[in-house]
Point group: C2
Chain length 332, copies 2
């Protein structure tokens, strides 16, 4: 079912500290180009003092500005991040606070499917906008992955970065063709333990932190197995999504996908799914994998670089811990 | 806007370990009845070996059974808990795994507004069911509050318990009057720091756990201030929700509210909002405040005790960290 929603504006925030792959390689005593070669990342950003909610607020403010809107035009905020700020409350109220909107009563809540959260949030909230429950919604993904990096797991250590991306979503005016044409999500439990940060919440409380357990509180990712599962399911998933949309692969003008890793993007987006490189938005080399913020950051760059124009058909697609796939085909 | 959705079944799970208020009082060197008097809780459950996802799975299985459905009838699982199991992935995939459904591809994601999560989840997913995106959805709130209790904060220490509640939500068949009549959510940022578990995620990583910081990883709740804010906004909130529903307070057959605390329930539900005690579902005394699981647990008891019958108008209402209010008026 189509939902007549429109991306009214997007925004980004990146922490000022840039970390080049050479630095990480040096720190770990590896050959100079090892980290870049394995990850496809030249540089990524790490926070210094910035918090999840502050970064989210900056990205949200920029999205509002780019949409020519004020905060008072917004009637809901959803945080769609994988690395939350606190166990309680949810991150969305903290973002509203960081925006300085102390008097506002608009609802704030989180939708979480790790790296897929932005897609899930956009997909879910589109039904509420279509039905008239909300007019204009801020969808914000803000991520601090750097606090969970494990230098013993080179693959994820090489890959992740911090940052925030946001978008304002609203109803399409009559005469405007912007819409979600189709969307889909699936969760494959065989991959549920392939990407984890096990510690920090009820599963393993912080009081259990010790020299023996410390890796339980960091990213634990089995990239090759994730990739194997992704390869198993990706083609069918995209075919079903395209069928639901009544479209062919060639009809897609731009793939704005999760920036999972250099090889995954090349092998899945180009080789397996058959999207040519010029149709795949790629911001990996200077952002790294920014968890759920990857997709709104890539969207924001696509708009800025005019790779995405009104009327274009964009495919949002990604995999997230779970293991889940999510996809949206949207007429921008 | 009405959404033609129906609660098809509900389920509950409580850990086997019961903890009486006398025990807690003794442990803290207080008068025997002090904990019970201040909280209104006689006994609550604490987990021993049970995990968040296991408890959620048990409650979900019971909800399926009570709805006369099989897992294969379900096409989405939402976890709506405030105390998550892991930082990554979300809790919903872990619940699907705990249900043993390894081959299932149905999507699993989390919706989080702390104590309000069940209401927010039910509210949000009703639009997707109304639109035909999903047919039957498991909404599961599973909470382990006991791992975050701080014996220096008597109010919350006295109050919280563990457990899980779940419901299966589906589309109303034609000729069936079950529906959501109205719903509403607001977030008041003045209350954003009044209920917190600050540590465990990006705000304060577990590596910062120490004897000096340990309370940052536990509940920090300013009950009197939450209550003051709640009292300020509750009446207007409920009046607006009733107006949207075209109903009067007297039309509500049962209030299934968050089991916040004995005094809050009496002062807000009875005195401030004017619902007589026999119309207020109260499971506090033998459950405690079970965070987001309070409402589905109270719903399950209301159905079991036949306090809620088909055709009744039920008001779900609660406050959650944020501080947020959420409410749904539903014809059961």
């Amino acid at each position: 079912m189509h939902r007549r929603v429109k991306i009214l504006g997007s925004g980004a925030f990146l922490p000022s500290r840039k970390v080049r792959s050479e630095e990480l390689a040096k720190e770990l005593g590896l050959e100079k180009d090892r980290i870049e070669k394995m990850s496809g990342v030249i540089e990524r950003h790490y926070v210094e003092e910035e918090t999840t909610s502050q970064m989210g607020a900056f990205a949200a403010q920029e999205a509002l500005k780019n949409a020519n809107l004020k905060f008072s035009d917004i009637d809901c905020i959803i945080s769609t991040g994988g690395t939350i700020e606190q166990i309680v409350p949810a991150t969305a109220p903290l973002i509203k606070e960081a925006m300085g909107e102390v008097e506002s009563k608009i609802p704030c809540f989180d939708i979480n499917s790790t790296c897929l959260s932005f897609i899930t949030g956009l997909d879910v909230i589109s039904y509420l906008i279509e039905a008239g429950r909300y007019e204009k919604v801020l969808v914000v993904s803000s991520e601090i992955a750097s606090k969970f990096l494990n230098s013993k797991q080179l693959e994820s250590y090489a890959l992740f970065g911090d940052g925030a991306g946001a978008a304002v979503i609203g109803k399409s005016e009559s005469g405007d063709d912007s819409k979600i044409i189709a969307s889909k999500m699936e969760t494959y439990i065989k991959g549920v333990h392939l990407t984890e940060i096990r510690g920090g919440a009820t599963g393993l409380h912080a009081r259990n932190y010790s020299n023996e357990t410390k890796e339980e509180f960091l990213f634990d990712m089995d990239g090759p197995k994730v990739f194997k599962l992704a390869r198993k399911y990706a083609n069918d998933f995209i075919e079903q999504l395209l069928t639901e949309a009544g479209l062919k692969k060639e009809d897609i003008d731009l793939l704005v996908g999760h920036q999972a890793s250099g090889s995954a993007m090349k092998l899945v987006y180009n080789k397996l799914l058959g999207f040519p490189s010029h149709k795949v938005m790629n911001i990996l080399s200077n952002h790294g994998n920014v968890v759920a913020a990857s997709i709104p950051l890539a969207l924001n760059e696509a708009i800025k670089q005019k790779k995405l124009r009104r009327g274009d058909k964009v495919l949002f697609f990604g995999a997230g811990a779970g293991l889940s796939f999510g996809g949206i085909i949207l007429e921008y």
